[in-house]
Amino acid sequence: MSNIDLSRVSVLVVEDSQFIRSLIVNSLRVMGVGSMQSVDDGAQAIDFIKLVDNDPMKAGMMSIDIIISDWEMSPVDGMMLLRWIRRHKDSPDRFIPFMMLTGYSEPKRVEDARTMGVNEFMSKPFTVNALADKLFAIINKPRQFVHTASYFGPDRRRRPVPIEGPDRRKLTYDSPEVEVVNG
């Protein structure tokens, strides 16, 4: 068995509740995460992401590997932060894995977060096992990213699903309108 070693991983935690933030940070620390920074809301997160990009020594973090963010925050909430990361021209890494935390897990919310390009969605109450499952998926089962006119984010098909009835998809990987970029 190979154990996942998180000691070289850097995580940015974005959560406005000091209590919840300390729970997440402490759990990650005990799980062995090597480097962590926590901020109060999306605006602070954007500032920190830019700082890491421009001056990693000053930021105290050479890179950000994973972002774990609450949804409900003010003034910049988790969805606005995710939108900035995935779509803004100033975003230094549009592919960064993003885990959204929320106390509200209605299907509409999950769908909205998926549409915005979230990697993983975790509803509170959060447990260590749930956190580990989501980290496992990010580390070990990353999805290819898809860029279309209306979407940029991880492929929303996690696995091939057999199609019942006629296949109405117009494009395949071999279509001239489709480009696969390996990086």
Partner: protein, 165 residues
């Protein structure tokens, strides 16, 4: 020349390299260290025990802002904003730590202190009823739905809202 309308990006998985090294490993052979997971779970549970103390501090803050609503009514709009922010911090979390009634009452307070709410004396009383109900939940450590006592608290709060509304 056909215009590309869909791009797939298959990026090298640096996180896997960072966490598992470069040697090939079968997916079903990968896991987190069981001992670390047990330690992390124990640490989380230990911290969760502090929830009533933490939320008591927030209830004290709510009570303090409520007092200021009474003492300085001309500044109620700002006070309501503060109440709204504190209630936001509390809602959605009580359930995590076994106190869903705190979530219910803070959710109600959050809605009630939104920007469109009147800052009338009556509404200040309704705010107080919310704070009092929360205080009872924590003082009596009413976890879960609280059974009869929980029902009484909810009924009492509803009655207070009707009385002052």
């Amino acid at each position: 020349m056909v215009k590309v309308s869909v791009r797939y990006y298959r990026i090298k998985n640096k996180l896997r390299e960072k966490t598992l090294g470069l040697a090939p490993v079968d997916d079903d052979q990968i896991s987190f260290d069981d001992e670390l997971m047990l330690k992390a779970t124990a640490a989380l549970e230990e911290m969760a025990e502090d929830y009533p103390d933490w939320v008591s501090g927030l209830i004290d803050q709510l009570a303090d802002v409520h007092r200021r609503c009474v003492d300085t009514p001309e500044q109620r709009f700002q006070h309501f904003e503060q109440l709204h922010a504190i209630a936001h911090d509390m809602r959605g979390q009580g359930g995590t730590f076994g106190y869903p009634l705190i979530s219910d009452f803070s959710d109600g307070l959050y809605d009630f202190t939104g920007v469109n709410t009147s800052t009338s004396d009556k509404n200040v009383e309704i705010i107080k009823a919310h704070i009092d109900a929360m205080r009872v939940v924590i003082k009596e450590r009413i976890s879960g739905d609280g059974g009869d006592l929980g029902s009484q608290l909810k009924t009492g709060l509803d009655a207070a809202i009707k009385k002052y509304a």
